[in-house]
Symmetry: C2
Subunit: 133 residues, 2 copies
DNA sequence: TCTATTGCGTTACATTATAACGTAAACTAC
DNA sequence: GTAGTTTACGTTATAATGTAACGCAATAGA
C-alpha cells in the first residue's frame, strides 16, 4: 500500500470538508494553488477519483461537482439533497427506497450496479428564511 | 407562438429517436452536420433546452448526454435505467417510489423541485447474452 | 542497493457548454 | 404592405470540465 497519494488526497478532502457544499474540480484546484502553485488538473482528478473509490467523496452528477461524504455510515447508495439556493448537499440513506427501486428494476430484468439519486430543491434553512429578495 | 425554432427541434428530436441510446450534444451535432454543414453548438443546445422544457427530451446527468423521451405518459419524475454495455436508456415511472422519497425528504424539511434518478447497470438483453468476450 | 511499481508533474488536448453580438425571420399593429 | 418588436438563428470566441501520454521521482520489496 503506497501512502504516497494520500497526502494529496487528504489535502483535497480537507478543502471539500471546509465547504459544506459541492465544489467543482477546478474550485478545488484554485484552493490548492495557494499551497501548491504549480498544481495541475490531473493531480486533482487523481485524488478525487481515489477518494471516490474509498467512499470519502461523492460525485454530484447533476452539478459536475464533488462533495465530502458526511454520512456517518458509509452507505453505497444514498440520496443527495442539493439546495439550489445555498449549494449545501445533504446525504440520506434510505434502504427501503433502495429496496423499492430494486424491486421495480428487478421486474424489468435490469441489473443495477450504481445508483444516482439527486434531488434539487430548497433546504429547510433557505426555505424558512423570509424571501424578501 | 413562434414556430421558428421548431424545425431545428424536430431535427434534433429525430436524431435522438433514431438511436435508442443517449447521445452527447456533439454527437447530435455531427449527425446534423450532414444536413446543415455549418451548424454550431449553440444551435443544438438551444434546441435541446427547448425540447427538455417541453418534455420531449431528457438530460442524462450522469452521462452529460441527452435521450428522447419514450415514456407513454409524460411523467415529470422518472427512473432512468442506463445500460453501461449497450448504452440503451429505459424510463420507468414509479409514483410510489416518488412518494416514498417525498416522505423521507419532507421529514428533513427539504422542498424538492427536481428529481434525478439514474441507475447504471446491465439491461436484460445484455445480461442474458453469453459473456463470451 | 537494485529493481519494480506507482503516482506525480507537466504538456497538451479532448469534451462539454455558454456568452455575446449582429442578422434575419416571423409576428403585430397600423 | 410596411414599420417596429420579438425571437431564434448563425457565428465567433471562449469558458468549464476532464483525460491521454510521457518521463521522472518516490516508495516498497528483495
Amino acid at each position: 500500500m503506497s501512502t504516497r497519494g494520500e497526502i494529496m488526497q487528504s489535502k483535497v478532502l480537507a478543502v471539500l470538508k471546509r465547504e459544506g457544499s459541492a465544489l467543482s474540480a477546478y474550485d478545488v484546484l484554485d484552493q490548492l494553488r495557494h499551497e501548491y502553485p504549480k498544481i495541475a488538473p490531473p493531480t486533482v482528478y487523481r485524488a478525487l477519483h481515489a477518494l471516490i473509490e474509498k467512499g470519502g467523496v461523492h460525485r454530484v452528477e447533476s452539478l459536475n461537482a464533488f462533495v465530502a461524504c458526511n454520512s456517518t455510515s458509509h452507505e453505497h447508495a444514498l440520496i443527495m439533497s442539493i439546495c439550489d439556493d445555498c449549494g449545501s448537499v445533504e446525504e440520506n440513506a434510505a434502504p427501503e427506497l433502495m429496496d423499492n427501486l430494486a424491486g421495480i428494476l428487478g421486474k424489468t430484468g435490469f441489473d443495477a450496479h450504481r445508483h444516482v439519486i439527486e434531488v434539487h430543491g430548497v433546504c429547510s434553512t433557505c426555505g424558512s428564511e423570509d424571501s424578501t429578495s
